[in-house]
């Protein structure tokens, strides 16, 4: 039986970790993640989990210790935000390259400079090419559900890759919401026993991790990494359908909200999708065919499925809560790539919003949807990339 509670995203995520009871957890504080690991450490101190916690001296060491612990042979977790993820950057590639199924809640936060502790996606977007699987969450419930599913995806024998579970700093991490928790035994049975493929701790069958690979083989390793990524979609869907049986909650590669017959649409990640959905409903109420696509699996990106869902829409605004200076927003680049092969493709514009925790308000969604309507009517648009909600 599900337990209904009122909790923050950090609390929900920590609760998922308690129910999973990983073998090792390495942690270093950074706002807005700090509170997650504090809660988890509390479970350790109260004997509610068997986890060995390593309170490291930096995020670089946190990820290094996760790599060692995971290679040693057991379930491993850490969590971070922003500068912490940036400091881990070097090690993110190593965890993925070694095919180590580490799971990491990432409480999204802006990157310095200027210093800002609030939520945007510049941290996770900066790590999108590290070989980690990335799942994004709209609210505390999704943060909780994704954390549980992440272990199954990461540890799947066909995958064995690290997974980042992203959710918005403060907006999700610190706001109290209604969340349905699964029973401890349900979670325990769902994630199952951990099996490591080549544990370092198997003293009788010594293995070497992290060799030097020269030009004669390096490309083969990298292609193999890409090939594994192509299998992730199926696993994500399988895990989601099993999770649905347990929770009655439905997950896919992305959420297609009122998109079936939509003329105009927003593509938007994480918490802002919730706000935008209300506005979409309002437009629908006025007889305007508006819809929304909310990516969940961002790496690997489900190009074909996204293209198939968006191809009949006439105009789309891709909303980015991160920037690529001198380029388009990272989500926009993915959506453009997805639609590239369609002959009669939707018109695409890109809005950068909500950097450093700037509010994304219903008015912003409304403004963008109105602009899309105009684009549909005239077939023309002013600019491709534009900042919204910015002070002039």
């Amino acid at each position: 039986m599900a337990r209904v509670v009122a909790v923050t995203g950090n609390e929900a995520s920590a609760e998922a970790l308690r129910q999973i009871n990983p073998d090792v957890c390495a942690a270093y504080p950074i706002t807005p993640q700090t509170d997650l690991m504090q809660r988890f450490s509390g479970f350790v101190s109260d004997g509610k989990v068997d986890t060995e916690v390593i309170l490291v001296e930096s995020e670089h060491s946190a990820m290094s210790a996760c790599i060692g612990a995971s290679a040693a042979g057991g379930r491993v977790v850490t969590a971070t935000s922003s500068q912490g993820l940036a400091l881990m950057w070097e090690m993110l590639f190593i965890a993925a390259g070694m095919r180590l199924p580490v799971v990491m809640p990432l409480v999204n936060r802006a990157l310095s400079a200027p210093l800002n502790i609030h939520g945007d996606h510049s941290d996770s977007m900066g790590a999108r090419d590290s070989g980690w699987i990335q799942l994004y969450s709209e609210n505390a419930q999704e943060a909780y559900d994704n954390t549980i599913q992440a272990f199954r995806i990461a540890e799947h024998m066909d995958i064995r890759l690290p997974v980042m579970v992203c959710f918005d700093g403060f907006i999700i991490s610190h706001s109290i919401e209604r969340v349905e928790y699964l029973e401890d035994t349900e979670v325990k049975n769902f994630v199952g026993e951990y099996k490591q493929l080549y544990p370092l701790l198997d003293i009788d069958n010594p293995k070497s991790y992290g060799p030097l690979i020269l030009p004669d083989l390096y490309m083969e390793y990298k292609r193999a990494q890409h090939e594994v990524m192509t299998k992730v979609k199926d696993v994500v869907l399988d895990v989601a359908s099993e999770f649905k049986k347990l929770s009655k909650r439905e997950y896919g590669l992305f959420e297609a909200y009122r998109l079936d017959d939509a003329d105009i649409a927003l593509v938007i990640l994480s918490s802002a999708a919730g706000t935008a959905k209300d506005v979409i409903d309002e437009f629908r109420g006025r007889g305007i065919k508006a819809g929304l696509l909310k990516p969940r699996l961002f790496r690997p990106f489900p190009y074909e499925e996204v293209a198939d869902t968006l191809k009949k829409v006439r105009a789309i605004s891709v909303m980015d809560r991160a920037d690529s200076f001198g380029g388009y927003g990272p989500l926009f680049m993915e959506i453009s790539s997805a639609l590239l092969h369609i002959k009669e493709r939707p018109l695409l514009i890109n809005k950068i919003y909500g950097l450093g925790g700037r509010d994304f308000l219903p008015g912003h969604a409304e403004m963008v949807l109105n602009e899309l309507m105009e684009i549909v009517e005239t077939g023309k648009f002013k600019t491709i990339k534009e900042y919204i909600g910015v002070r002039e």
Partner: protein, 309 residues
């Protein structure tokens, strides 16, 4: 019980021939001695550097023990993770064997970029031994100065030129820094004094908690010395007191070898091309300074050693 070469030679070589370190390099000798010393199964992590790039390439590995290399600055944090997983699984009753954990790093990966992760791992009290093989420069990237490079040495980033005569900063005294962590065991060793080295490693493996050993490791490429000089040079390093052999056990300092006739530092410098420029008259002051620094450190060490007896 005295260590016998005859007995030790019966043990399996856990770091095999076929590795690709330069011929005459001091490091593989040290690794063999360390692995030979352990009476337990050992798992090692390795920092990026000469040892790592030469010992495990593609499908070939010289390591007959479980081994992990993850990056340059984090051999300590990586093995800390392995050791913690061991504790976790042991607590859960999933593993019951006694296993020892060791990290190997060069001086660059230990004194410089890896100092934070090393210090962190020691402070947290992991049951591990960290071994620095100190060849006094970043050898793998082509002999650049590190904070372990001796004063006056010629390296590719502190070249001896017409204005600057080599590296103009003192060596960092890492062994002292590690002793200041108040961990149960810190030692300095040399492959020429193999009995001393093996005894120290054996002792370290019997102690629970974090241990650190600094081992001098001649590099003929970087030291510009003969390829058959590694053992001779590490002996001269000890006999000149450039590299004193000592240990700090639970805060008690003990010199483990006192040269019968302490040799002048020039005996250690002369055979090495990296110090060639020091033997011209205008650089005499550098030789003098090196000798003074060594004498001071040796005196301090003897004093600490006798006071604490």
């Amino acid at each position: 019980m005295p260590l016998k070469l005859k007995e030790l030679s019966k043990k399996e070589d856990l770091f095999t021939h076929g590795h690709r370190m330069c011929s005459g390099c001091g490091t593989p000798i040290i690794i063999k001695q360390v692995l030979m010393a352990s009476d337990y199964p050992v798992i090692a992590s390795n920092a990026t550097g000469c040892l790592e790039v030469s010992s495990c390439i593609s499908l070939y590995t010289a390591w007959k023990i479980p081994w992990i290399h993850s990056a340059f600055e984090n051999a300590a944090a990586t093995i800390a993770g392995v050791e913690t997983m061991y504790s976790a699984l042991k607590k859960q009753g999933k593993i019951d064997r006694e296993i020892k954990f060791v990290a190997f790093g060069g001086d660059g990966g230990t004194y410089d970029i890896g100092l934070q992760s090393l210090s962190g791992a020691m402070e947290r009290g992991h049951d591990m031994l960290y071994i620095c093989y100190d060849n006094g420069a970043y050898m793998n990237t082509g002999i650049q100065r590190s904070s372990a490079t001796p004063f006056g040495a010629d390296t590719t980033t502190s070249p001896a030129g017409s204005v600057v005569p080599g590296k103009m900063q003192q060596r960092k005294n890492l062994t002292k820094i590690m002793a200041a962590h108040d961990i149960p065991y810190v030692a300095q060793a040399s492959p020429a004094h193999w009995q001393d080295l093996i005894r120290k490693v054996k002792k370290a493996f019997e102690i629970k908690g974090p241990k650190f050993m600094n081992v001098i490791s001649p590099c003929n490429r970087g030291w510009r010395s003969r390829t058959d000089d590694a053992i001779e040079l590490s002996r001269l390093a000890v006999d000149t007191c450039y590299w004193p052999l000592y240990e700090v056990e639970n805060g008690i300092t003990k010199v483990t070898y006192t040269p019968r006739n302490k040799k002048p530092i020039v005996d250690f410098l002369k055979p090495q091309g990296r110090f060639k420029h020091l033997f011209s008259p205008e650089n005499e002051w550098i030789l003098k300074k090196l000798q003074e620094d060594i004498d001071k450190e040796w005196d301090e060490l003897l004093r600490a050693s006798s006071i604490e007896k």
